[in-house]
């Protein structure tokens, strides 16, 4: 073990102790039975399997067909990516309500640059990702330099971006985006599933690794749990929060790239409707695998749990309002479960 690693571990242990002291009007957590802990960690996975079995009881031909899941995995990949972007600032204690707008901006930039201005699709994608990072940087300036709550800043920048998207698109849907992108996103398949899903899976693994096994991931978590304690322990809180907002913008832009590739077109507004599903999945994901923390594999499972429910409801032919109940109810139930895990302490 090198000196710096040992030093880091010592500081982390110290930080954790201070964090407990800071939060800890509470006594140290009691040792919970292992079965209860396992039930909590894997409850959503079990619920997912049960959901498939229950829906499959009514519609076995569709619910037990691999193709149904291949199609669903491919078509919801961009929601996974958007959710992954969202959960980075959520981990550091910031809300980014502009992620869906950033997704729309990236999607429209690709269409405008590629279709209207004749850019190569690669160049257009790079510009879209840079634009996403720029949005994150602007959010960071207002949140950190002006000291405004992230909820207010990102609500405002989200609306501002919506205006830019309407402006650059002339309020039009733009179709005819390079088939190269469409081919890479949905037409090319591996194990019968469009590549979009494998991109989302790879990003999930990367973020999971970063959160669980790197110093950066630990710093993100500490900043979210107690900014003052983290600052006193030598963590550059402002830099961590700025970085998380910039990462969120970049990943939301990546979701926009996938969304454009999914349709070969971009429109000014439809991406905005993914904000609630992304929040629902982020919060639902925080109740599983690593309960009480926003975590990438949990979010990944949550997106497909919700999508499986929607798919089953479609197969059953229920009216569309039931699907809204499922999504909206999912968010409230997820947050409630999350709060129970947090012993009903007020949320930050």
């Amino acid at each position: 073990m090198t000196q710096s690693t040992a030093d880091y571990d010592r500081r982390i242990a110290d930080l954790e102790a201070r964090l407990r002291a800071f939060e800890g009007r509470l006594p140290p957590p009691a040792q919970r039975p292992r079965t209860a802990e396992m039930a909590e960690r894997f409850g959503l996975l079990v619920a997912w399997v049960l959901l498939i079995l229950v829906l499959g009881w009514f519609k076995p031909d569709q619910m037990f067909a691999w193709n149904s899941y291949a199609v669903m995995f491919g078509s919801t990949a961009m929601i996974v990516v958007l959710t992954l972007g969202l959960l980075i600032p959520l981990t550091t204690g910031d809300f980014d309500l502009s992620v869906a707008s950033t997704m729309a901006l990236a999607s429209m930039l690709i269409a405008v640059l590629n279709v209207r201005m004749g850019w190569s699709i690669e160049g257009a994608i790079v510009m879209a990702l840079l634009a996403g990072m720029a949005v994150g940087a602007v959010n960071a300036v207002f949140v950190l330099w002006f000291g405004i709550h992230s909820l207010i800043v990102t609500l405002g920048t989200g609306y501002f971006i919506n205006g830019i998207v309407l402006w650059i698109s002339g309020s039009n849907v733009i179709s005819g985006v390079s088939m190269d992108l469409v081919n890479v996103v949905i037409l090319t398949r591996f194990l019968g599933i469009p590549l979009a899903f494998w991109f989302a899976t790879a990003l999930t693994v990367v973020i999971w690794y970063a959160f669980q096994h790197t110093a950066l991931g630990r710093r993100l978590l500490f900043v979210g749990r107690g900014r003052e304690v983290a600052r006193l322990s030598g963590v550059n809180v402002a830099r961590v929060r700025a970085g998380s907002l910039i990462a969120s913008g970049a990943i939301a832009a990546l979701a926009g790239v996938l969304y454009t590739g999914m349709r070969g077109a971009a429109d000014p507004s439809s991406a905005l409707s993914f904000l609630l599903p992304a929040f629902a999945a982020a919060f639902l994901g925080s109740t599983t695998l690593y309960p009480g923390r926003f975590n990438a594999p949990g979010a990944f499972v949550a997106v497909f749990f919700l999508s499986t429910g929607i798919m089953g409801l479609n197969f059953l032919g229920v009216p569309s309002f039931v699907q809204n109940l499922f999504y909206g109810g999912g968010l409230v139930v997820a947050v409630s479960i999350s709060q129970l895990i947090r012993k009903r302490r007020p949320m930050d």
Binding site: M72, S75, S175, R263, Y327
Partner: protein, 360 residues
């Protein structure tokens, strides 16, 4: 003779079970021809009548090219006749619609037109106020011409024949499948024109095509992105024999085309509107087979024609004379590259209206 009589009897008994293919083919052929101008009413001297009059147009939203194109047609008509017409800027915001009505009252306009989908019932108090101030209030392209009633408190309305558009969509699918349509019909029920379009498509197939089958899914506009695509792909997975997806508005194509593609279905899409990006998708791909559209510049001029008749005390025109026109791969290039809302329909309506208004 005896055999002929027997054959006739058999045909009589058999006819209810046979699809009325001839009628469907005739309908498709009729609306595949380039639109011709038919005067909506008697000629009149528009310049003399409108010399001291003005019009104020409140569109549903300027952010929608559909409304912007109708407004442009209205402005073009006002320019030809030579009267003051103002297009108000709105963004689908009821407070902006009300501000528009108040502005028109404050500035002394003679007529307010609620253009392209503003639900007039929501503005009944403001409309009553404007009327009390001596302003006529009308609507362009809101209600269906045959199945919906113009609100009694309006001074006039130029309505759209949505039923015919629905019939054309259904007839097209019948003709292409030789009477074996298995269609998934989609629409947002909260939008007023959805009901006449939806009922016309489903009703036409039910009445004229015994071997045809339809399934309807309501997808509210706000859920098109999140639920629309999944609804279509799951319906196609549940019933792979679906051969047509018929959204009542073609803007849904951006969610339907990937659903058809990703589910590996060979279904085709047919719809109504003639939205430019959908025509571009038709030109560049294979999923969108036919779109039946209407020239929005024509709609704008027809709306102004109806409004001028209200202001001039002439017999009212209640139906827009804008004909339907079928776009397919064969003629989609005439809609422009990229497509736009006005190209492809011909320009007979400009000379037609100009002559109708006594301007040469």
């Amino acid at each position: 003779m005896k055999y002929l009589a027997s054959a006739a009897t058999l045909a009589l008994f058999a006819s209810p079970a046979l699809a009325d293919m001839d009628a469907a083919r005739a309908l498709v052929a009729q609306y595949s021809a380039l639109p011709a101008f038919e005067a909506p009413g008697d000629p009149f001297d528009a310049r003399a009548c409108m010399a001291d009059k003005s019009m104020f147009v409140v569109p549903l939203t300027n952010a929608n090219p559909f409304n912007a194109a109708i407004s442009a047609g209205m402005s073009q008509a006002a320019e030809i006749v030579g009267f003051n017409l103002r297009n108000w800027d709105t963004q689908m915001d009821p407070t902006q619609w009300i501000q528009g009505i108040n502005t028109a009252m404050a500035e002394g306009y003679d007529l307010i037109d609620l253009q392209g989908g503003i639900p007039a019932e929501m503005l009944a108090p403001q409309i009553g106020e404007a009327q009390a101030a001596g302003i006529k209030v009308t609507a362009t392209h809101l209600w269906d011409a045959t199945t919906q009633e113009t609100a009694a408190f309006m001074d006039g309305a130029a309505n759209t024949d949505y039923v015919t558009f629905g019939h054309i969509i259904a007839a097209w699918a019948m003709v292409q499948t030789e009477g074996k349509v298995n269609a998934l019909v989609l629409g947002p029920d909260e939008i007023p024109p959805t009901a006449p379009l939806r009922d016309a498509i489903i009703g036409y197939l039910a009445e004229n095509c015994p071997d045809c089958k339809t399934t309807y899914i309501n997808v509210p506009v706000n859920d098109w992105a999140t639920l629309g695509q999944s609804a279509v792909q799951n319906a196609l997975l549940a019933d792979p024999s679906i051969n047509y997806v018929l959204p009542v508005y073609d803007s849904m194509a951006q969610f339907i085309a990937p659903a058809i593609q990703i589910s590996g279905s060979s279904a085709k899409m047919v719809s109504y509107n003639g939205t430019p990006f959908v025509l571009d998708m038709m030109r560049d791909g294979d999923i969108i087979e036919m779109v039946v559209g209407e020239s929005l510049g024509w709609v704008g001029m027809a709306g102004v024609d109806a409004n001028m008749r209200v202001l001039c005390g002439l017999p009212p025109v209640t139906v827009l004379n804008t004909p339907a026109y079928i776009f397919t791969d064969e003629n989609v290039a005439t809609a422009g590259m990229p497509a736009n809302y006005n190209d492809g329909y011909g320009d007979t309506f400009i000379s037609g209206f100009t002559a109708l208004w006594g301007i040469e």
